[in-house]
Amino acid sequence: MQVLQYLINGVSIGSVYAIIALGYTMVYGIAKMLNFAHGDVIMVGAYISFCVTNYMGLPAIVSILAAMVVCTVLGILIEKLAYKPLRGTSSLAVLITAIGVSYFLQNAAQLIWGTAPKSFTSIVTFKPFSFADGALVITGEVIITIAVSILVMVGLTLFTGKTRMGKAMRAVSEDRDAAQLMGINVNQTISMTFAIGSALAAIAGVLLCSTVPTLQPTTGSMPGIRAFTAAVIGGIGSIPGAMLGGILLGIIETFSKKYISTEFSDAIVFAVLILILLVKPTGLLGKQVQEKV
């Protein structure tokens, strides 16, 4: 029973990682850049949701929508102002710019909301379910998180598979020049990717802070790095890979904390990453690209 409890908790936190990892992986697939500012978009989303519920007294669902809208606009703005001028240059230049954006967001948040942690009110109001005389407790947050992530994953799979925009995204990630020659508006597609990734980050921010209710300007960085790890485990650039990697990472983290060592859980998670990359150098579901001379 205990194992089941940890498994469920692991899947729950893993689902949050998966949603964040989707943002990393989509942006990497299309723009071929590591967007290190993604973790901070999560934090902004959580703060927006916090403000809407606590200062304006609006219901949770409105706060989530507001966070999604703000983050979407933010994502598109960041792409247009900071990343687009550098498109096609060294990937390292884009990486450093992304780090600049990340510093900017963290410090702007610190300026607006202060460094003192805010306690985030969970968006879930119903009571936890208890099974087998309390041996297995499933909280509302866990249910909502898993439900939302399933919804997101199904929605995203349908979007990339069936819609025109989704197909355009896949085409751009496959070969940007060829896609452009086929009449796909590459700029618009990249903007759309950032928009979707950032909206997902907002959702992830709210879910994350509902589970771990402390909110501060650095809230996004560690989950951001974890989710990035998850994206790489799954094979960066692959959407099902990000989902698999996220959930796997959540389960590994929960179990290693419980059965091996709380202090070393970070080291264990990253060691698993290295082991997986040793066996499969492009991640679990990543494509093995043949090198041509």
């Binding site: 990937s91 954006v101 410090n107 790489v232 080291a267 990253f270 001379v293």
Partner: protein, 358 residues
Amino acid sequence: MKKLLSNKTTRTNTITYLVVTIAFLVMQILSSLGMLGSATKGYLVPLCAYIVMAVSLNLLVGVCGELSLGHAGFMGIGAFTGIVVAAVLKNVIAGDVLRLIIAMFAGGIMAGCFGFLIGIPALRLRGDYLAIVTLAFGEILKNVIGNLYIGLDSEGLQVAFSAGSVELLEGGKMLLDGPVGATGIEKISSFPMGFVLILFTLFVVLNLINSKEGRAIKAVRDNRIAAESVGINVTAFRMKAFVVSAFLAGMAGVLFGLNISSLQASKFNFNTSINILVFVVLGGMGNILGSVISATVLYILPEAMRGLDDLRMILYAVVLIIVMLCTWSPGVKNFMDRIRTSIRAKLRKNGKEAVNNE
């Protein structure tokens, strides 16, 4: 001498050594005249450590073409090794300078060994995957050092991974206390030693770049397959650069660690690695003097803006983004080129008119 300076590499290297030496002498003179505040003096040794970090990372990122996001991990290994070694040798070796040098080499060798261990799996990977593995190793090292307990008493060193396991005899001292880190460190680093370390680093890195090894490493960076096909052992050369870089980072860590009274493993996190990477990229990839200058400017800039308080880091972020956009963006480059040509055209036109008027 003239013959020496006619060689371009030799000239660049001489300039690099000269700039560093002159900067050191100027600081020494200012300091002896009492023109430096105690705050400014306090920045000198960490600055030396960061310069060494930037130069050693440049060897990896700029010369070798491998993106590393965990360089601070090596600095951390070096720092804590150095602290332990310096404490153990306290009663054996009297001279602080000799003790610091031994600690530095110990820290460097330890970091180099870890660099070798990490290099075995990491160098099988390429590009972004190598970057993430170095990030992961940096985090693992930080996590492990943060849970390491080392005590010293009359019977010797005791090492453990849990708080209660180190039982010291009377008079014993905890050198490293898990998440609390090392406290009561004896400060034996000094600015002149920092300067010597910078010179040593420059000597090692510049000679490596201009040697047969260095040319092979650059060939691997520019075209790995072509380099492999002319018989260069790619993995061996990448490994060499990786270990040397880790070794120097470890020495920088010792210099840094033995300069402050308390040090936690969390100091050597992802953000520190990233900051050093920023020094390298803004200084110019593969440009060693550039790394020295940008490390100096970027380390002093946020410190100099302390008066601005909250706005300080936000300004730093904005400056960073703008500099990146201005130096790399093709749009900005074209714009500047157009302005330059239009100015030149105008000047030429004016010149012609002036000639005609005569």
